[in-house]
Amino acid sequence: MQRSVQRTDAQVVRDVLDGDRDAFRLLVRRYGDVLHHHALRMVGNQDVAADMVQQAFVHGFRKLGSCRNPDQVGGWLFRILANQCRDHLRGSRRREVPLQALPELPSRGTDPSDDAAEAEVRRRLRAALEQLTPEQKEAFVMKHLEGLSYDEIAAVMNLSVAALKMRVHRAREALRGLLEEFG
């Protein structure tokens, strides 16, 4: 009899812990895109982002037995990835990124009329994001790009909602100042 493909996350976790390693593939399929979206927004490089996601999944596999709520394993994996991205940015930060030195990231590919002025705007936005602290960037990305609620972000970042709101506020203020500075 064909096994149901609709196994719950908790069932998948149980199967993996019982020795069915290939069942972990279901979690990669379910959460790979979400994790990759976040990693790419945080690190801005597709190769690095893919590496981060791979590390997060492998780490999650190795420590799956410590996942407290197997039915929320997606959030648990996301938290692992978020921590890795934050650490990565902490390690690669502490250097000023000149505006002109930022890599030209791939365009979205949907607008053939993407002209130099628009490219310049994108460059400034990315330069401003790069200047935030890793914690500010993470909070801003989750709130304003990923649309997570403050409760959801607070759970990932292990912060109170009040502290998180202050962090997002400071990120916005820093971005405004940077965008003004960049002209």
Binding site: V28, G32, D33, H36, L40, A50, V58, V121, R172, E173
Partner: protein, 205 residues
């Protein structure tokens, strides 16, 4: 930025509830945030990522017989032990006296529920945002947070642990499992890492 605009951006106020001046600021912020969203770099995971993850997982070593035995012995569900195995475990407990951080405070209370020892755990982890200890005694939930009140990077905490032989590790910043460098004995976790071993004697014997 006014408090009203801030509350609007946080989703706590509708734009119609703002005074005219604040509304103009809010719209300016909407344009800035929309510019960021329109530049969103997010893309789906590359198609090869799944296979690459699974290849790395498949390459991890299978738990060895010793690790499997540990996993079986330390499984949180109730298990039936033969008298011989109980005797072996008791002998191991008697032989191994492991005290993380060099201190095992006396047990508290004297009722049947008090058959635990409060063990002092310690980890030097400067730069960590959080440290917790987890092991078979809490089903590896890392539910006991350590504290660093003076910010010197030394995290400590007292955790109730029942008598017996236990494995544990530290969970740093919520995701990184770290082996206790101060433990006297270790066991492989089956994936290339080492769990620290902790033996807790029954305080009533």
């Amino acid at each position: 930025m006014s408090d009203d605009v801030r509350r609007y951006l946080d989703g706590d106020l509708e734009i119609d509830a703002l005074p005219a001046e604040a509304r103009a600021q809010a719209r300016a912020w909407d344009r800035i945030l929309e510019a960021f969203r329109s530049d969103d770099q997010a893309r789906s995971a590359p198609h090869w990522l799944e296979d690459r993850v699974m290849a790395e997982i498949e390459a991890l070593p299978e738990p060895g017989p010793v690790s499997k035995a540990w996993a079986w012995l330390l499984r949180p569900q109730p298990v039936r032990l033969s008298p011989a195995l109980v005797g072996l475990a008791a002998a191991l407990v008697a032989l191994l006296i492991l005290r993380p951080g060099g201190e095992a405070p006396p047990p508290m209370g004297d009722g049947p529920e008090a058959a635990v020892v409060y063990v002092q755990f310690r980890l030097d982890a400067p730069g960590a945002q959080s440290v917790a200890v987890g092991g078979d005694f809490d089903a590896w939930r890392a539910s006991h947070a350590l504290e660093d009140p003076d910010g010197d990077g030394v995290w400590t905490g007292r955790v109730p642990v029942g008598p017996g032989l236990h494995t544990y590790m530290f969970l740093v910043d919520g995701f990184q499992w770290v082996t206790d460098p101060q433990a006297s004995h270790y066991s492989d976790d089956g994936f290339g890492n080492r769990n620290a071993l902790l033996a807790v004697a029954d305080p009533e014997t």
